[in-house]
Each structure stands twice: as structure tokens, then as C-alpha cells.
């Protein structure tokens, strides 16, 4: 499994400045990876470029054994005529039916199933949205602030569940939280302003999966590297 961006250039039509200039980066193995960087640096744009939602960029995107890319962001909503249960059942492919109940339990969605989306809290909405993407067939899932408004304990539980359920899939987790990125992610792509070269820096995270003891010193070291790189 490989995602490689080679000399990527992009600027929004009508805008003056580039978003990406000769951007190079790669992810070479499955796992829970992160796309990190300050606000406005182009994380969402890069996610949309990778997902195919934005075209007209320069450079190359090489994919190996990645056929289905999904991109989800935290403002998505579910149609109001469905309750959560009806929607999840209607969009779950037959092959992933068994995963449905498992995700509902681990994401803490059981109390929400008979509610409509608008009746949920922001955290519940984000969890529901992420769960429905995880019920799809995908090779790479880009999660753009998908766990915003979710408390730390539930967030950890969800990330560990994702890592346990999908060891052979690739995730690109966009977050501003340096602690969770350092702790849970395997590879961290730090995106920087196009004035800096290189525009993307790759770092190793602690890739915590709940089965080993995480050394505080190692975590601090990772966090320091990320902050220094960004």
C-alpha cells in the first residue's frame, strides 16, 4: 500500500498565492497516520486533492493498492428524514453488516439510534458520521477533524477500536491536537507554509495501540519534533 505525492502544485482559481509548491510526501504502509499543521496551511485542500474532490493540480499522485479513497469531515450531516438506525442500516453494505453493531457499541451510539441527527450533540454527530464511513469499503480514509467535540476518553476508545478493526487499511487523520497525533499515529505528515522547504515533513509517532506501555519521555519527544517541524 502506497500513497505518494510528487511535486504537487496547486492554487485556487482566482487566488494569487500557491497552496502547494513542489510538495512531496509519501505514506508507504497501512496504519493510522496523521496530517498535521497550522490552520490555513492546506490540510483540507490536500485531503480533497488526494480524495479526487479537487482537480486541476500540478504534479503526480501515485497510488499502489489504494483503490477506494473516502474523505470525511466534521460538518457532515445525515438526511433529516432518517433516524440514525435507519440511515446506518440503509448505507451499510451486506458484507459489512456484522461490523455495524460492533461500531455502534464501541462508538457509544446505542442511545442515539432512534434519534434524528439534529437531535444529537456535536460529539454524537461526529461519531455517527465517522461510523457510517467506517461501514463502507475503503482502502484509505481521510478523517478531517472527524473526532472534534468528542471527549478524550471516548476519542481514545474510538481510535484504538479503529486501529484494531482495520489493521490493513490506511487512515489519514487531520487534527490540531498534537498530543493525540503524537500518541496514536504511526506516521505524521507535518504540512507547512509553501514558503518553507520542504513543504511537508514526515515524522514517526508513537503508534500507541493500547497493548504496550507508552513512555512519557518518548511521547514528549514526538510532540517536540512535531512542534519544531510545523
Amino acid at each position: 500500500m502506497r500513497l505518494e505525492l510528487k511535486e504537487l502544485n496547486y492554487k485556487y482559481p482566482g487566488s494569487v498565492g500557491d497552496v502547494f509548491r513542489q510538495l512531496n510526501c509519501q505514506v508507504t504502509e497501512p496504519g493510522f497516520h496523521a496530517l498535521f499543521g497550522p490552520s490555513g496551511v492546506g490540510k483540507t485542500t490536500l485531503a480533497k486533492v488526494i480524495a479526487g474532490d479537487i482537480r486541476g493540480f500540478g504534479g503526480e499522485i501515485n497510488l499502489q493498492r489504494i483503490h477506494q479513497i473516502l474523505y470525511t469531515y466534521n460538518l457532515e450531516r445525515i438526511p433529516g428524514w432518517y433516524c440514525i438506525r435507519e440511515h446506518l442500516e440503509s448505507i451499510t453494505p451486506e458484507s459489512n453488516r456484522q461490523r455495524l453493531q460492533d461500531l455502534v457499541d464501541s462508538f457509544g451510539l446505542q442511545p442515539c439510534l432512534n434519534s434524528r441527527f439534529s437531535q444529537l450533540s456535536l460529539g454524537q454527530q461526529n461519531r455517527t458520521n465517522l461510523a457510517r464511513y467506517l461501514l463502507q469499503d475503503f482502502d484509505l480514509l481521510i478523517m478531517d477533524e472527524s473526532l472534534a467535540n468528542v471527549d478524550e476518553i471516548t476519542k481514545e476508545k474510538i481510535i484504538l477500536k479503529i486501529k484494531a478493526l482495520f489493521p490493513q487499511r490506511c487512515f489519514l487523520y487531520i487534527s490540531h491536537n498534537v498530543v493525540e497525533v503524537s500518541k496514536f499515529c504511526k506516521q505524521i505528515l507535518v504540512l507547512r507554509s509553501h514558503h518553507k522547504a520542504p513543504q511537508a515533513v514526515s515524522l514517526q509517532g508513537q503508534d500507541f495501540n493500547g497493548q504496550r506501555v507508552l513512555k512519557e519521555k518518548d511521547l514528549e519527544q514526538s510532540m517536540l519534533e512535531i512542534v519544531n517541524a510545523s
Partner: protein, 249 residues
């Protein structure tokens, strides 16, 4: 809801009537120009049943015309939401054609179709069609990205689902414009009957006008106001029921 609308109408109607009486007595106008209260009351008692049937006749045509225009606006709105050339063509055409006054086209309709039900229906539908169409096109061509994104990413999106999402997300606007256009449907039908028809309250008003009988016209206006208020209240109730049924209120 009903009593509030009827109260509002009664206040406006009787204020207008009081203004007429004030004018009559302050300017010493004859009963021929503005009839007295007694004459209006006598006319009301004599023509109430006849005019009520005429208003109900008009209301039926207005409702049919309104339904017809909603169907047409939905169909054209669905085509007009497309991003290909036909959608663009329909959007531009709708904006241009709606600028043309339907009343000016009405004589052509009467020449071609005569003064029967079809002409009244068509004119009623045309008069409330364009405001509906512009709103429908605007609503149906505006993507609801935060809902549609999932269905597009997972290749589940089809035209029916897209229309359903956009209509549902804008149900408040749709209901408001449908209720608003109901008045136009009533106005359109009366105008059509007034220009050339052989039934309906517009036709009765035309006869009263030729007779210079303001009392009959005032009775007709009273019944039109009451019946239109009831129809609007029914539509508002229907809108409230739909919103409640789908949990948007």
C-alpha cells in the same frame, strides 16, 4: 391560526368599508356611487348564497391551478437544477419569461381556448407558476454539500435522492413560497374570470361592474377574503403537519 387570519381579514375589510362610508358621508356622495350600509346589507342577504357558490367555484379552479403550477415548477425545477446546458438554458429562460406579464398573454389564451374552465385554470396556474418556479429552481440547484458529500463519495447519489435532500433541507422555504403563491392562484383565477369567463366570482364582479353596483362588489370581496383566508390556513396547517411528520419542528 384560522381565527387569527379571519380576524386580520375582518379588521382590514371593515376598515376599508368604514373609509368608504367616511368618504360617502363627508363628500355627500350618492347611493349610486357608494351604497349605504342598509343597501349593502340587503344585497348581502340577497346574493350571499349565489356569490358563495361563485367564490367556491373560483376557489376550486384556483386550487387546481395551484396544484398544476406546483407540479410544473417541480418538474422544471428538477430539470433546471442540472449543471449541463439544458439546466442552464431552463434557468435563464425562466428568469426571462417570468418578466412577461401573464395578463397581457391572457387574451391569446382566451382566443385559442375560449372562455371555459381550461382558460381560467391555465391563467391561474401561469400567474402563480413563475414565483414558484424561481424558488424551486433556486432551492433545487443549490447543493447541500454537508449531506450530499457522503452519497457522492460512496457513489449512492441519484437524481431522486438529490432532489429529496435539497427539498427536505429547504422545506420551510418551500412551504412559505407555496402558501404565498396560493393567494396569487386566487388572484389569477379572478383576473381570468374578470377578463373573459362564464362562471366564478370574477365573472360576477364583472357583471356587477357593468351595473355599477358597488354593494355586490363589496359582498364579493368579503367572500373572497374569507374563503382565501381559509385556504391559506389549510395550506399552513398542511405545511406544519409535513414539518412535524419529518421532525423539522
Amino acid at each position: 391560526m384560522l381565527h387569527r387570519r379571519v380576524y386580520q381579514f375582518l379588521i382590514i375589510y371593515f376598515t376599508g368599508l368604514a373609509a368608504l362610508m367616511l368618504m360617502k358621508y363627508s363628500l355627500h356622495l350618492s347611493d349610486y356611487t357608494i351604497p349605504g350600509v342598509t343597501e349593502i346589507w340587503t344585497t348581502c342577504r340577497r346574493y350571499f348564497a349565489l356569490y358563495l357558490m361563485a367564490v367556491l367555484n373560483t376557489l376550486c379552479v384556483a386550487i387546481l391551478g395551484h396544484l398544476l403550477s406546483i407540479c410544473m415548477a417541480t418538474i422544471v425545477g428538477i430539470i433546471g437544477r442540472l449543471t449541463i446546458w439544458i439546466g442552464s438554458f431552463i434557468r435563464v429562460a425562466a428568469y426571462n419569461i417570468q418578466a412577461y406579464p401573464i395578463v397581457a398573454v391572457a387574451p391569446i389564451i382566451f382566443i385559442l381556448l375560449g372562455d371555459g374552465l381550461s382558460s381560467r385554470l391555465l391563467i391561474a396556474a401561469m400567474i402563480c407558476y413563475f414565483p414558484l418556479l424561481l424558488s424551486f429552481i433556486g432551492i433545487l440547484s443549490e447543493p447541500v454539500k454537508e449531506i450530499e458529500h457522503f452519497f457522492e463519495s460512496t457513489r449512492r447519489m441519484n437524481w431522486g435522492l438529490q432532489v429529496k435532500i435539497r427539498a427536505f433541507e429547504n422545506i420551510h422555504k418551500l412551504i412559505t413560497v407555496i402558501v404565498g403563491s396560493a393567494t396569487l392562484a386566487m388572484v389569477g383565477t379572478i383576473v381570468a374570470e374578470f377578463i373573459a369567463a362564464n362562471a366564478g366570482i370574477g365573472y360576477s364582479i364583472r357583471i356587477a361592474l357593468y351595473q355599477s353596483d358597488l354593494a355586490k362588489i363589496l359582498v364579493a370581496l368579503f367572500l373572497i377574503g374569507i374563503c382565501t383566508s381559509i385556504y391559506l390556513v389549510f395550506l399552513e396547517w398542511l405545511g406544519w403537519f409535513i414539518k412535524k411528520r419529518f421532525g423539522t419542528i
